[in-house]
Amino acid sequence: MSSLDSSFGVRRAATPQAPAAAKRVRRPISDGQHRIGTRAHVALSWIAPLLLLAVWEGLARNGWIEPQVLPAPSKVVATAWKLGLHGTLLRDLGTSLLRAAAGFAIGGGIGFALGTLVGFSRLAEALIDRSVQMIRAIPFLALLPLVIVWFGVGEGQKIFLVSLGVAFPVYINTTLGIRQVDPKLLELGRVRGLSTALLIRRIVLPGALPSILTGVRYALATAWLALVVAETIGAQAGLGFLAMDAREFLRTDVIVLTIVIYALIGVLADSLARLLERRLLAWHPNYGAGR
């Protein structure tokens, strides 16, 4: 460890690498020493997964693992290449992303609107909040059979399920964020004679934004989960369809491929959300890249 440390030398906060390391493991407090430790830590933490992959490849190639149980990683990559070039992979991927985006927009919009309303108005809270909390008590995937009865297994069912999964985290974190806005700052706004519209724009929404973005990040995960389930139940296109279709023919390489793609997109969505946080919350000591 000590030789590693000295090879990094003393690093100032302004070097481009330092925030890059800090963002991977988000820490409120990050002094120079901590970052160096984190970088080494990140490098070390990759060893085990890579090793596992290598062992898997070796076992599969030597026939220790049946290809129908688990194909070799290299085989999955080859399948990806083939399907991407000649098959329906890109179209299926597009279909899935579109469903996720539509559900996210609808659910997020509804969650944000209701959350804002309830955050601001005691009356809206009295009218809306209890019902929302009661519906929220249902694990939304338990509604699946009912949703299929309502919508069949078409696009409606999938988008509805995703919206449902997204709306609650966004709703909760929006109301929470608005309520947590520092009353002293609201008072300041009043002293300065801000109109209600300006008060919302300059103080309430910026103050609630960290919480709202947390909700968005959480919602991304739920949206993805909802989509996987919805697509697996019944679909004529999309990643879930690809996987279920492959199951019929015991094409585990395709199944594994879809699983990997689901995972990759999940990771991608999450880093997108983090990027958004860093851009929008640059002022915040816990998120901002510093100046």
């Binding site: 002293k184 008072e187 300041l188 009043r190 300065r192 004679g193 300006l198 300059r202 934004l209 002022w283």
Partner: protein
């Protein structure tokens, strides 16, 4: 109390018969107060006697139960904490509530006045406590208020910074000439800054002094402390 008043037809605020209660607990009752433009008034009083309550009423932050508050313009307030919006740059903080047009220029001028003219685009979190309170001061002055309300604005600062702030405030007030009401616990601060010192007790103004006319500073200080209910320190 009017005996001590220099007649002047230009009040920054006139308060008559003010009554302020929280529920059934009356904190301020039948309070009269007049502050002229350009006059610096310090308000002393024991903790919990209602100084902040009075200031909040003057700022229009709380409803009053009886009496009148006449102020020609919108008062500006500096609180004990800077209350800067952490998500806005310094100039956006200073110009909060100003019309967009010319806001940056006005904020730049105000920040320059408090010695932060080179930090327009910085985040508030990059400031020290004293710097943040200077921004709050700039934000108050950029309004060109007729009445400036200061609620223990220096209480959280270290002694050295506080002395610097005294100089700055005195200079800025002399230039902009608002009427000032400074709530403070610090007798020294009151003597150093104020044209007139009020002592509040039992929800009303109990005593009024002009520090300029005090013959013996030591005895004046002791008198103020005695009025604040601090015994024994009169001998020191």
């Amino acid at each position: 109390m009017s005996a001590l008043h220099v007649p002047n037809a230009d009040p920054a605020v006139t308060v008559t018969g003010l009554r302020r209660a929280y529920g059934r607990r009356v904190v301020i009752d039948a309070l009269d107060l007049r502050i002229e433009r350009g006059e610096f008034v310090a308000l002393l009083g024991e903790s919990g006697c209602g100084k902040t309550t009075l200031l909040r009423a003057l700022a229009g932050l709380d409803p009053i139960q009886a009496g009148r508050i006449d102020a020609p313009g919108k008062p500006a307030v500096v609180f004990q904490e800077p209350r800067l919006l952490p998500w806005d740059s310094l100039w956006r903080n200073v110009s909060l509530g100003l019309p967009e047009h010319g806001a940056r220029e006005a904020a730049a001028a105000a920040l320059a006045e408090v010695g932060l003219g080179n930090r327009l685009d910085d985040w508030p979190r990059t400031l020290s406590g004293g710097q943040a309170q200077r921004v709050a001061l700039a934000r108050a002055l950029v309004q060109e208020p007729e009445l400036l309300l200061l609620d223990e604005p220096f209480a959280a600062l270290d002694a050295l910074t506080r002395i610097r702030m005294h100089g700055l405030v005195k200079e800025l007030v002399a230039r902009h000439r608002p009427g000032v009401l400074l709530v403070t616990h610090d007798v020294e601060e009151a003597i150093r800054l104020a044209d007139r010192i009020l002592v509040m007790r039992d929800g009303a103004i109990a005593a009024e002094h002009l520090p300029e006319t005090a013959a013996d500073p030591q005895r004046f200080r002791a008198l103020l402390l005695a009025e604040l209910g601090v015994q024994g320190s009169a001998a020191a």
